[in-house]
Amino acid sequence: MDQLSVNDINTILDTADAFMEISSRDIKKVPTLRGKSVVSIFYEPSARTKASFEMAAKRLSADTLSLSATDSSMVKGETLIDTARNLQAMNPDIIVLRHSSSGAPHLLARYMDAGVINAGDGMHEHPTQALLDLFTIRKKKGRIKGLKVVIIGDIAHSRVARSDIIGLRKMGADVTISGPPTMIPVDAESLGVRVVFDPAKALRRKDVIMVLRIQLERQSGIQFPSLREYSLFFGLNKELMKRAKKDVIIMHPGPINRGVEITGDVADGPFSVILDQVSNGVAIRMALLYLLIGGGRGDNLD
């Protein structure tokens, strides 16, 4: 998200707006990217992002190929650079990369002529998620500039939070981050955000509440003692929602741990736009594929 200008972001969101309509048609396919190939490599498990990219590419008639960690030669010890060289030899137009190491798409892009889209790298960035979040906010609120947004959860380990913060700040929103101090990164203010540890205080007068997933697989009892205690002090529930603005929207990048970071009734409740985020994700990714392939090869998105 660092590389994108405000103009770039507006162009992407406007293009996504135009593509929204395609997904509502009876026949959801246009020939725009016929003869182009999109290869996605997922070194980490992902359902939503992977499906979303695949659907976006197919609706634009691109040929898609998707590799996961188990069929990639990574299990055979091939380095990322060698994988890049081999893929390049097949001359694809776009590579979509999900990787557990921060910076992996940068490494890949150095060895490829094809454009590289970062579909999430370690704890670094998840730019397409941020773009679909911005898109969702703009659609629901009519603007981004001047809005007050709070992000609650494990900010330190979240690539979604990092990309959202950069995108929101660029577009002129006011951002607060919230959660237990063990999950707030060092020098967080340098990202241009305010830190309010207690969600009960942080969500007041906010236009948007973004709840992050607690990564159960990451928890070892060092960052917080138990899910039970997390949900009591940092989870979003009906009681807390009484303090929120009446027209607030609630977002979550998924998948949800119901009853941990957000209760089921709030996630499914009237303020939630969580499923809109998913629909908007396809349009955003269509826009990106279109703009990157249309914009000439060699462009990268991070």
């Binding site: 990322l80 921060s102 910076g103 490494l107 060092v186 967080a188």
Partner: protein, 436 residues
């Protein structure tokens, strides 16, 4: 044969002075040191004249912290290629750390290292033995046997001693053998899976951080152990403002500690990592601008006694990978002098002080030869051209590896001749003193 080094500015790091002197070398030793115009060579002897006018003549540089990777990782460096890199960088002696495979924790490994160094036949290579067997931090190695085999210090560099009890006993036991104890200060628990300095850049890049406190906690522990035992501890590769402050305070209180830093800690900060450059990944990590300033102050105030490179060669196998998977460490032997000379030009330290940190002080700490140009001493000498300009090139390294963040840097000043025991082991292609 007599070698006559004519008319150079000879540095005396002990007194902090420089004088124009001629040096007469015979049988590997400095035979005479005298003002120019006073030496008339006997006519019947083989004479080699090195015209050093306009050049700096310094005691051979000594790097008390290198990793030569042999035995075990010869694809990164060998004692021969490492020695070649050292000679090219102006170094006449190095102390190599024990984290090889097998670890240098027994006489046979120390013997092997010295045998390889003899075969390479370039510079003086001194093994540093492990503190604990296998660097496991559980039980002491045989300090006495290792010292007799040639070890000049003990250290668990790279895998620091976690147990405070073991470290205390190591320092006490080392005292009996007069072996210096070198500590890589790091709280491994606190560093956890960190891969760079914890701060604004790690927060921005989403990389696990290593807090400054991870180093400082152990610096304080070693200071307290030096106080408890009354025996010196040498702190390796100091990188933070806090470490400098704690060491300064300890020295003021008379606690016997010495300290080193590496050129990258006064030349670069954590912003060098913004493009995920694995050649800027090392341990301890590059810190913040204010740490860099503190290191410079520490050097100028004498808090930091030594500049050592922590020369850590890695091949593309370990470096051309995802950032978090890349190995820690950079090479340094061939850039250390130029980077130190930049500090001299900046006015941080004067030339004799720089040479003290690169030769006299490490020689004193390790009680090894060299570090001074004096009649009767070994002729370990480095001739330096302060004005030579060059660009660091990936293909230009004598080291087997080229994992350096300084590739592409424009440097001023370098070693043009390296002499060990009166023998020239390296000479730059440049004509020595083209003006004469």
């Amino acid at each position: 044969m007599i070698t006559w080094i004519k008319g150079g500015e000879v540095i005396d790091p002990r007194s902090g002075t420089k004088r124009t002197l001629d040096i007469v070398i015979q049988k590997g030793k400095i035979e005479r040191l005298l003002p120019p115009g006073n030496f008339s060579p006997p006519g019947d002897i083989d004479l080699k004249i090195i015209d050093a006018s306009g050049m700096i003549v310094a005691p051979g540089l000594i790097d008390m912290h290198v990793h030569f990777r042999e035995p075990g990782e010869e694809h990164k460096e060998t004692i021969a290629t490492g020695s070649q890199a050292a000679a090219a960088g102006g170094f006449t002696s190095v102390a190599c750390m024990p984290n090889t495979n097998p670890v240098n924790d027994s006489r046979s490994v120390a013997d092997f290292i010295l045998e390889r160094a003899r075969k390479a036949n370039l510079i003086r290579v001194y093994p540093v033995a492990a503190i604990s067997r296998g660097l496991r931090g559980e039980s002491l190695t045989e300090f006495g046997d290792l010292k007799q085999a040639g070890a000049v210090a003990v250290s668990d560099d790279g895998r620091p001693v976690t147990s405070t009890e073991l470290m205390r006993r190591a320092i006490e036991y080392a005292r009996f053998f007069d072996l210096p104890v070198i500590s890589h200060c790091e709280d491994l628990d606190l560093s956890n899976k960190g891969v760079m300095h914890e701060g604004t850049i790690s927060t921005r890049l989403g990389l696990q951080g290593i807090p400054a406190a991870s180093e400082e906690i152990m610096v304080v522990r070693e200071i307290l152990l030096a106080k408890l035992t009354g025996y010196p501890v040498h702190i390796a590769h100091v990188s933070t403002e806090g470490s400098v402050a704690f060491i300064k305070q300890a020295k003021e209180e008379g606690i016997p500690v010495t300290a080193e830093t590496a050129p990258h800690y006064f030349s670069l900060d954590h912003t060098a990592l913004t493009d995920f450059d694995t050649n800027a990944k090392m341990r301890p990590p590059l810190r913040e601008p204010r740490d860099v300033e503190a290191i410079k102050r520490g050097l100028s105030q004498g808090v930091i006694d030594v500049i050592a490179t922590d020369h850590a060669p890695h091949s593309p196998l370990e470096k051309d990978v995802e950032f978090d998977k890349a190995a820690f460490g950079i090479i340094g032997l061939e850039t250390a002098l130029s980077l130190t000379l930049a500090l001299v030009r900046e006015g941080v330290i004067d030339l004799p002080a720089a040479m003290a940190k690169l030769s006299y002080n490490p020689a004193s700490i390790l009680s090894i030869k060299g570090g001074i140009i004096e009649e009767g001493k070994e002729a370990d000498i480095t001739i330096i051209d302060l004005n030579s300009e060059y660009v660091v090139e990936e293909e230009g390294f004598e080291s087997k590896s080229h994992n350096s963040p300084f590739i592409g840097w424009k440097m001023t000043g370098k070693a043009i001749l390296t002499m060990v025991g009166g023998r020239i082991v390296w000479e730059s292609d440049e004509q020595l003193n083209p003006r004469s």
